[in-house]
Subunit: 499 residues, 2 copies
């Protein structure tokens, strides 16, 4: 191996170890932290960020990253330098005091957001939000951009992503989805909402957890190198190559929501568990972008979990655990229940059809905020207007409106569009997989191993070796296109709703 | 505040923050870590130690610690310097590569010990143990000592503790305890062992946990600034001033063992929760030594938890949870069950009378090992001989013998004697408390708050302001003496066993 690359990797290992320690501190904050300890944890996290920033700024490391002659490197080495340059630009362009200020500001903002959401009080969160928007704009200016400050932030989550590209994608999706929803809303099935979940239904948490663990094992998530815990906001996180944890939360009156969430997070986790071992603690470890990561979670949640074949596979387990609650419920009724299309207020509870409209709304707001076309003070009203426009409903409270998501309190402007990218990538990957495998047969038989093997050999093993645009071309032969997603959605829901 | 002290505190804050992050990583290792992640966690911990060592070695910090003119400082400032000098000597005298090697060696040794214990195979642990003994001797030589290399290690756990002092204490205790045990073994009560625990008795874990949480709340342990979790080895740890966690484990056939363990760990935890807030992240935060710490845990476990009055207080709760299992069990029978004196193989399960003999045995072995008077290879046989001598029984397996404790795998030679110091301090503190409070009345009424207040104002609030010898004189008027413990043990067990 190239001597300079070896030096980079030696130094980077410390950054990686520290990153995993930070991930542990975050995981513990969400899963375990005693209420009185949150300020101290914020200070611990800020300190870890400070050490990590110093490691990025170390002179020798920086000079190799900036000056190494890429032409003499092999494919892996080139990818290492590309990834380091991509991550380093944040540390090299944004002053350290701004990075620390961002951590401190968002730690406080997260606590303020949590309280404001509980108390349905946007005004208490507003000053924090303003600070974060100002800071994110300062960061965008340091990072630099051609046309739009928002582009600098989007690029942090998905390399090269721009507002213009997002705009094109959403302009293609939104009218089609709006039309489809209107057609669905006229059907008889839409009017007869499934009564399996909600209200005073009772599916004990313990049973839900046991079913989730069964499905995780069947899917191939390695529980000896991971865990399933309970947290208010479901997530996946990487505490080590062999320590990829996921969380969920359980609603006692809904046995489907948590299971779909677990399959989603396991999709993320199995991506990380499948990365080539030799990449551990190098810049090639880990999924290559949020969009590609989200494709793995969406694939398992939607393409697998919400398919008729998965319902047939899991129905006997549901019937065994919930004999009393489900009675003579047919697989068709179960299938309808996991694919109920219904405009709702909450993004994370949205179905496959309405989901991306929640993202459109957030994208438009973020883009407008970053270009100072709207004021943070007006967000609750803007939110209501856009909800009315895209989903035809209006939240009665900010808790179910502008305060619902954690992202802005984390300073993560630019994150939301990657959710839609994930849906598109997932559909395009699934279309490619279908050329080799009969997914439906495998799912119905519970033979998820074959599906996971395909994902491992085509996507997971590479970690961050290929950039997202390279990867999607390598796997599917084409650049990212919304057509696979639209085709999938149109066909699936036309059939379900007999359009 | 003195300018140099201010500089020390600013720098020390980083050491403290990092120490708490390490504590989190250790806690998670014991409570949550997926089995495949242990090597990675060891690497993360070693890296954190490496950063922390660098912080101790930072030039400016070191030169103030070594050169500051103590005569010009006030009491608090003097204590800060004394504590820093005491902690720093490890980093200043032991070379960094030895410190890192110790972390790496003990991480591997811990895993080897766990496996060797499971498989009852001392030979597989032996090479690790030899490495650790060699390393600890190297460390002792770097630290320096007058007569005995073991003194250098004892001093790491209890400032100024020597093998000679321990020897005197144990020589005073051992014959008295041996005589007492022989008297007890002749009684009728000894021969009629309580049948409330053991065998196929069934006290569901969930009930045990609920009772433990009730007792914790009554004692005054702040669960909003702590947690109770399950781990194979019960412990207490400090992840923040407001994040003092404890763990326990449950035996389904014994409802007493876990509860006493929880009271023990809560004793440690409430010490930390009671330290003056202004000491947070300074060298004054935290209990002053392991011996004093252990006095707090032993006080709650033994002086409170194993008293007749506590049994009277908790009996109705036991009866309500375990109506079927306990039937018409009287408080006298319950009291006998929590105070059953019986020579056993396992230290952590030992009663108050036999406990210190387990420590004598370990002290003698450690002292002989550190003076090369015995060989690690011969430990299983030496263990059996000493068990026969002090407790009259011989373990059939090394798992119940020389492999039972975690300490040596951690490299903690010199730790065990502090357990006995804790018992002695606890009895001496209790005797002082008795001059002001009628402990028995308060316990019977469940008025633990008054007891905790006494501990807070006399001991806890000071954190590490007073050195152990200063503290014991301040609180009790006298230097540490075994007489209070011997008096307590003799009186209590003479009554129980009608000697």
């Amino acid at each position: 191996m190239n001597k300079q690359i070896r030096k980079l990797l030696e130094h980077y290992k410390q950054i990686s170890l520290l990153g995993k320690v930070s991930a542990l501190a975050h995981w513990d904050l969400e899963v375990n932290l005693p209420p009185k300890a949150s300020e101290e944890r914020a200070a611990q996290l800020a300190y870890l960020t400070s050490i990590r920033t110093d490691l990025w700024l170390a002179k020798d490391f920086r000079s190799i990253i900036e000056d190494v002659d890429v032409s003499k490197l092999d494919q892996k080495e080139k990818a290492i330098v590309r990834n380091l340059r991509d991550s380093a630009k944040f540390y090299y362009k944004v002053p350290k005091e701004i990075i620390i200020k961002e951590v401190e500001t968002t730690s406080k903002a997260f606590m303020a957001w949590k309280k404001a959401k509980e108390e349905n009080n946007f005004k208490d969160f507003l000053p924090h939000l303003k600070q974060i928007i100002d800071l994110d704009l300062i960061i965008a200016n340091h990072l630099g951009y051609k046309k739009n400050p928002y582009d600098a932030l989007l690029d942090l989550y998905e390399p090269g992503l721009t507002a213009e590209f997002c705009g094109k994608i959403f302009n293609g999706l939104q009218p089609e989805l709006t039309t489809l929803i209107k057609q669905i809303q006229k059907t008889k099935r839409f009017k007869n909402k499934s009564g399996l979940v909600g209200g005073d239904k009772n599916y004990p948490e313990q049973d839900q957890k046991q079913i989730a663990l069964y499905v995780l094992r069947k899917m191939g998530y390695d529980l000896d190198a991971g865990r399933l815990d309970t947290a208010p906001h479901p997530f996946e996180t990487k505490l080590g190559r062999h320590d990829i944890r996921i969380t969920t939360h359980y609603h006692v009156n809904d046995f489907l929501d948590s299971l779909m969430g677990v399959m989603h997070e396991a999709g993320h986790a199995m991506y990380e568990q499948g990365v080539s071992e030799e990449y551990t603690n190098t810049p090639l470890q880990g999924g290559v972008s949020l969009g590609i990561h989200e494709s793995q979670s969406r694939f398992w949640e939607n393409q697998v979990g919400r398919s008729m074949e998965f319902v047939k596979f899991i129905a006997p387990v549901f019937q065994a655990f919930y004999a009393g609650q489900l009675g003579k419920t047919s697989t068709e009724e179960l299938f309808a229940a996991v694919n109920d299309v219904r405009p709702g207020l909450i993004r994370v509870e949205a179905d496959e059809v309405t989901y991306n409209l929640h993202v459109v709304l957030r994208f438009e707001i973020e883009n407008a905020l970053m270009n100072k076309k709207i004021k943070p003070d007006d967000l609750p009203e803007i939110w209501r207007t856009k909800m009315k426009k895209y989903l035809g409903i209006v939240p009665a409270t900010d808790r179910e409106g502008v305060l619902q998501d954690i992202h802005w309190s984390h300073g993560s402007f630019g994150y939301f569009p990657t959710y839609t990218l994930g849906n598109l990538y997932a559909a395009q990957f699934a279309a490619a997989m279908r050329k080799k495998l009969v997914i439906e047969d495998l799912v119905e038989k519970g033979e998820f191993g074959t599906i996971l093997s395909w994902l491992r050999s085509n996507i997971h093993q590479y970690g961050s070796l290929y950039w997202p645009d390279e990867l999607v071309k390598k796997v599917t032969g084409h650049a990212l296109s919304p057509k696979h997603f639209l085709k999938y959605i149109r066909e699936k829901y036309s059939q379900i709703y007999e359009l």
